[in-house]
Symmetry: C3
Subunit: 151 residues, 3 copies
Amino acid sequence: MLDEVVGLGAVTMLGVLEQAYFSLQVIHARRKYKVSPPSTSGPPEFERIFRAQANCSEYFPIFITILWTSGVFFSPGEASAARVCGLLYLYGRLRYFWGYAESAQGRLAPLYFSAKVLWVLIGFSAVGVFLTFCRVYLDVDLLQQLGSALF
Amino acid sequence: MLDEVVGLGAVTMLGVLEQAYFSLQVIHARRKYKVSPPSTSGPPEFERIFRAQANCSEYFPIFITILWTSGVFFSPGEASAARVCGLLYLYGRLRYFWGYAESAQGRLAPLYFSAKVLWVLIGFSAVGVFLTFCRVYLDVDLLQQLGSALF
Amino acid sequence: MLDEVVGLGAVTMLGVLEQAYFSLQVIHARRKYKVSPPSTSGPPEFERIFRAQANCSEYFPIFITILWTSGVFFSPGEASAARVCGLLYLYGRLRYFWGYAESAQGRLAPLYFSAKVLWVLIGFSAVGVFLTFCRVYLDVDLLQQLGSALF
């Protein structure tokens, strides 16, 4: 069991470290632009970094949930696709954060990219849950049936 | 193991899709009311939708955590109660989002409803963790003992 | 499996209850300082409580993720260290919330404390994932090799 999920654990760790990096950037921006808590308003440079981190934090639990759902309900071979998508998502988020820190426009391309990767992961999870459901409750192995029908 | 949790996986998927729907609504509202990021202030119609999504996002990790804790630490039969509560919670959140988009008042009834469902799930989890704890560390099966005492 | 993670389940439950307590405090503060949703601006006393809860909510999924990653990828004996860190983190967050409600300055010491505990948990997870990785993919048990080298 542990052996199958260690790859997911590694991607999860990277995700947590990325969130830590974003949080440190906000602390740094608060000092640079002299915006003391609890205020969250300041110059646009600060607000962009603050919103970038807030947006990434908002999506973090969705990402982790969907990463593990697709990783666990897929068969081990297919699970590596989930891990690759996980890495692509984290890369997209890093580009998003840097882009947003530069300009509001700069966040768009990587935002669309990471949204698309997230939809792929959601698709993987949905298929994985659906196939497991068929196997458990209807006693039908759709993948195997599809295989027999094709070959 | 997978077989026992596939129902939780299905509820989780629905929860993720609901969050995706809320996020798309905010993007739509940003365009409709011309509120460009990083700003989060605008006409009350926009702010209600923004806050509705923010509130749902804030509770999403708590919901997922408690859904799985109650689903995993309960015996399989009782776990279906956790799944039903999960679906009720997601339904309540949908009503909450639509109600809040209409008026600040409209969010209240579904908010109280989904809060109550969440408390039921928290109660399930607490009981499940407590019973497992007794079984593992005190070697006492409280459910069985209760059964013998009653019948 | 369940037996090994029931301690993590108990810490998770406490974390959820703490978040519930923070949420109730914000509802209470909204009434006391007459700040009706969707507004999130008000007197500094309200904004500090609001931001304290928002910050704790933001870190909640990171905390839960890292608690379970370190608890699951560590061997059972070491996992108790993860549970102790989990309890320390929750204690630090409670002190943070109370401190922030008093003054912006009052949040700092418990914030640094809980950040340090989180870094310890991140370190545990990283080591746990790394050791499992070596065992699974390189077929090397580093802990055992280290043990043989030392004694």
